[in-house]
Assembly symmetry: C2
């Protein structure tokens, strides 16, 4: 069962927005600075080319097959996703190399995974998936065998063994537990052992470059040790894959990782802006903004129309985009539909009713997941025009 | 411009779920215990009838016109919403008495408000809106006049003056500032002064009944004082409206409020469960759950497939629904797509891979806003069956 619906075509009010000035965008709206996004994309492609490392952009962040296709055009080998339904949306949108970097256990989902693998195989594409248990492998093999019998053919799925290199979430401990899973995978003809999934999510938002380097040095050592154990059993390990925007220079420098899974680099967010940048890191810029409007103004605060139904607050509140120090405002939590604006220390002025402002979301991934569309702007947030509407076609793709 | 799309019909996989046992619901999914919901609805209707007070359920919580219609059938006078696009979804779904309890400033939204008021007037329905500034009133009057000229007729919109009775968000201070706005409203023939909006959101989650009583006693005093000032100018104040699930017994007892705007009572959430219940308060029960499945199990924790793309965490993490103490598990943050499950103190057992669990969301409103559908179950979460799929037709209705 897939709880998501087939998405209808863009409605008229959205189509009519294309070509209009930025001022025509009603609030709140999630807006992408397409020029900044393209610069971030070029920076990532250059980085990967220069360092001879593959990149597979994580689509859990943007949830848009249109953006995924742009990334593949720029040199990404394909995309990562976290959910079967996200994989389905990416494939439906024309992406042919998809890796589900997560464990899938429910038989009804595994049947969908197997169908998707078969469909991709017909087009010369490929599907990958992570596992961290014998149970998961056996269930996956069963689903793949069922699909082979139903659909014919000899489709194979790429299976990555997830090891926990510090995230403390999914994954077996590095070492012997992983080798056992590799041997289990190799018992099933429809499964191909494709490498190790070694993502250290907690390292992404550690603030100093030195601390991030230490965490990823340990992760790389764990991955290398596990790889060596597997190879000692005579089994090649084709790839170690992982890394996010915060730590990607460290995985790249390790010589252990062969593929980067960064996603947030494309849009960036207020939380990543708190990281002290590693000198080796491309200088990614903010490209994702919530446009908001002041709807109420008191003596000590003003109120805007964007609350946490417009942006996620799991990694902190948004900041007011203010590159020239024009506004001098702090954003405070006003609940689901409102934001409270107060002058920063040393500032007095409050914005008047009707004034529009731009917020930088604290965390881009769950913010994008609140919106059916991104409004793509070229020419900047002041003088720019709406260039395209980007559908978030995997929004709400939870299963 | 309205960024939302026309919603397509339910897809096959959703329709096929109806009549299936609860076990067939794939995870994560947002599930409503319809029996519990109906009991909550009956409790609210009984309470209002017994106390002779109107109720206008807040649809910002459920964002579903189907549920709004159930509430009206049960005796609600209509619904409240926070956004113009929510109002449009409610009217499109057959609700004829809608009040936007929020300030609307953008001319393109006010044009939609005026159109909606005209449309409702034709059907014998009515639209209300809150204001807290002269600017907002003048803009609203302009939009109503434009609509009258374009559409003909003499449509009038109900206008409520919002006073800040302790929320610290929108609203003018109680007293003279409100009377000035009332006089401004009365200058415009298309606007009808309908009363005072006096909602104290911060009182809802104050934990002890006594503290809530004190806060609402002050709010009621502020509202009564303001009403008296307006009446002293010879202007009747038809209504004082406000209240939420946490404090509604206090507004009811005040004798000042004539209408309750509670919304959460229908589903309840983990945060409201932290409130010490006022003896006068109906004993509302949890009716909203996230069904989730264990996808990974380590030595010290297990991982389920519901993270904060499945449920909002602004009012705290979800709790594991465990009425019989069977599971003994605490839910910890595992990021956007995962939850970390650990044994509660004194408990050891972790759930096995494949096990399904039910979570009680921390805050129902933004949780519902993450989902396109609610799965409605009758007969309980263990032995029950799927009775209906409830579309969240105002999901993402931000503008």
């Amino acid at each position: 069962m897939n709880l998501r619906q087939t998405k209808p075509p863009l409605d008229d009010s959205l189509r009519q927005l294309i070509g209009q000035p930025v001022a025509a965008i009603d609030t709140p709206a999630l807006v992408v600075d397409l020029d900044a996004m393209q610069r971030n994309l070029a920076r990532m492609a250059d980085f990967a080319r220069k360092h001879g490392i593959r990149w597979r952009a994580h689509a859990k962040m943007h949830k848009s097959s249109a953006i995924a296709r742009l990334q593949v055009q720029a040199g990404a080998v394909g995309v990562c996703v976290q959910k079967t339904a996200e994989a389905e949306a990416m494939v439906a949108g024309g992406v042919h190399d998809v890796y589900i970097t997560n464990e899938v256990i429910a038989p009804q989902k595994l049947a969908r995974v197997a169908q998707l693998a078969s469909r991709l195989a017909v087009d010369g594409g490929r599907l990958g998936i992570a596992v961290d248990s014998r149970e998961g492998i056996v269930r996956l093999a069963q689903a793949m065998n069922d699909a082979r019998q139903a659909l014919g053919g000899g489709t194979v799925i790429d299976v990555y063994v997830e090891i926990d290199v510090g995230q403390g979430r999914c994954g077996v401990p590095p070492g012997r537990a992983a080798t056992e899973l590799v041997h289990e995978i190799r018992r099933h003809p429809a499964l191909r052992f494709a490498g190790l999934q070694a993502y250290h999510g907690k390292a992404q938002h550690v603030r100093t470059p030195q601390a991030r380097r230490e965490l990823i040095a340990q992760a790389a050592q764990d991955a290398a040790f596990t790889r060596k154990l597997i190879e000692a059993d005579g089994v090649p390990v084709p790839l170690v894959t992982g890394a996010g925007t915060g730590s990607m220079v460290c995985e790249t420098a390790s010589g252990v990782y062969g593929e980067l899974q960064a996603g947030s680099f494309l849009f960036m967010d207020a939380d990543y802006a708190q990281n002290e940048r590693d000198p080796a890191q491309p200088n990614f810029e903010h490209a994702l903004f919530v446009k908001t409007q002041v709807i109420s103004a008191g003596l000590r605060h003003a109120v805007c129309d964007a609350g946490h139904k417009s942006h996620a607050i799991d990694s902190g509140l948004p900041t007011v985009h203010d590159p020239d120090g024009e506004h001098g405002l702090a954003y405070d939590n006003g609940g689901d539909e409102h934001g409270i604006l107060r002058p920063l220390p040393g500032r007095q002025r409050l914005p008047e009713i009707g004034r529009t402002l731009w917020l930088v979301p604290g965390h881009c991934d769950p913010t994008v997941n609140l919106h059916d569309h991104l409004v793509g702007v070229k020419g900047g947030l002041v003088q720019g025009t709406v260039d395209r509407i980007i559908r978030v076609d995997a929004r709400g793709a939870l299963t």
